[in-house]
């Protein structure tokens, strides 16, 4: 391990923190919290906080394992070459142990303190991300994002199950919404960083199937997301507030996706503005949709108590 010999100092705590991908974790915490708050039951605030903490720690552990496995690939990409492992500020063994430790602790605490069903789903989500996505699918198939994206769809399901102790149609729908949202979100990113993915041999769809096919699939997924996001309202799981928000947000998402899906790159110097706008809006979309879900639930509870 020549990498270890070049480490000048003990690993800084900030590098361990960076290993958990804090920015991705913020989205995980938010959707997990929304799942917990939108559930039609009350959970003790301490146990609710513990559930969200476990979801966050589990996501952090999975992210650390992802970076442990992909350290060599990360070193070859501009976006990731400064991460603690490729930059040589941490040994791979430390990253692996940190990831395994966080993952095990999160599942154990979730089971002991909150719910064993939620703990099992949390364990499945960690294995899904660290093994099924990172090790198995990502280097093998251009559909890696579609199937692997399921890992990011688990938090609201876990949050809901932590609150209710059981699985019903609503949390499965929340899972499905994030599952359907992931391909356009990641492929928009892959379109403007595709040269990096190609360099390290990751078969992202734009690299393998080409840009036109990727743009077409972005549009298809966005079109499917629109009716899917309305199903929670249609089955009576949410009120009108969510229904209106979902229609507006998903409609806008479809417009942004159509701008990407119905164009082609003008040349090598194309600034890829629609793709970048779609990527940014996709993040806003998910935050706003889940915020609407919680606001709708709060509205319904307020209406009942008056």
């Amino acid at each position: 391990m020549t990498q270890v010999q070049t480490i000048p100092l003990p690993t800084d705590w900030r590098d361990f923190f960076a290993l958990t991908k804090p920015r991705v974790m913020s989205l995980v915490i938010f959707t997990g919290l929304c799942g917990l708050l939108a559930a039609p039951t009350h959970i003790n605030p301490v146990l609710g906080f513990t559930a969200i903490l476990c979801i966050a720690i589990g996501a952090g552990g999975a992210a650390a394992l992802n970076q442990w496995w992909e350290a060599d690939l990360d070193a070859g990409m501009r976006r990731t070459k400064d991460r603690p492992l490729p930059a040589g500020r941490m040994s791979r063994t430390s990253a692996r142990d940190f990831g395994v430790g966080l993952s095990a602790c999160s599942v154990l605490v979730m089971g002991l303190a909150v719910s064993w069903l939620a703990a099992v789903i949390l364990l499945v989500s960690i294995i899904y991300y660290a093994v099924v996505y990172t090790i198995w699918l990502k280097p093998r198939t251009p559909q890696n994002i579609v199937i692997g994206g399921g890992a990011g769809a688990f938090p609201p399901l876990i949050g809901w199950v932590a609150a209710t102790g059981s699985i019903s149609l609503m949390p499965v729908l929340l899972f499905a919404i994030i599952f359907m949202w992931t391909p356009p979100h990641f492929w928009a990113l892959a379109l403007f960083v595709q040269s990096d993915y190609a360099k390290v041999g990751i078969p992202m769809l734009p690299v393998v199937a080409g840009e036109p096919a990727t743009r077409r699939q972005i549009l298809i997924y966005a079109a499917l997301l629109l009716p899917l996001s309305l199903v929670p309202w249609w089955i009576g799981g949410t009120g009108m507030l969510y229904g209106i928000a979902a229609a507006l947000l998903s409609g806008t998402f479809l417009v942004f996706s159509a701008r990407v899906g119905l164009r082609s790159r003008s040349g090598p110097d194309d600034p890829m503005r629609p793709e970048k706008q779609l990527f940014v809006f996709s993040i806003v979309y998910l935050f706003a949709l889940f915020a609407a879900l919680v606001a709708d639930r709060w509205w319904m509870v307020q209406g009942q108590s008056v």
Partner: protein, 53 residues
């Protein structure tokens, strides 16, 4: 592993290197202490919450 001193570093053995190393280790110990303390408090809070459920 990561705590192993690097004898290839040009700064190795100098007072600056030793001071930087001490600082990083001190910060790590403080953060670890805060995290463990937080979990100790959380443990008691969960116990109380479980008793009241």
């Amino acid at each position: 592993m990561t705590d192993r001193p690097n004898d290839e570093s040009p700064l190795y053995g100098t007072p600056e290197w030793t001071e930087r190393r001490r600082k990083v280790i001190r910060q790590r110990n403080v953060v670890l202490g805060v995290v463990l303390g937080f979990f100790a408090v959380l443990f008691f809070a969960i116990t109380i919450a479980k008793l009241s459920v």
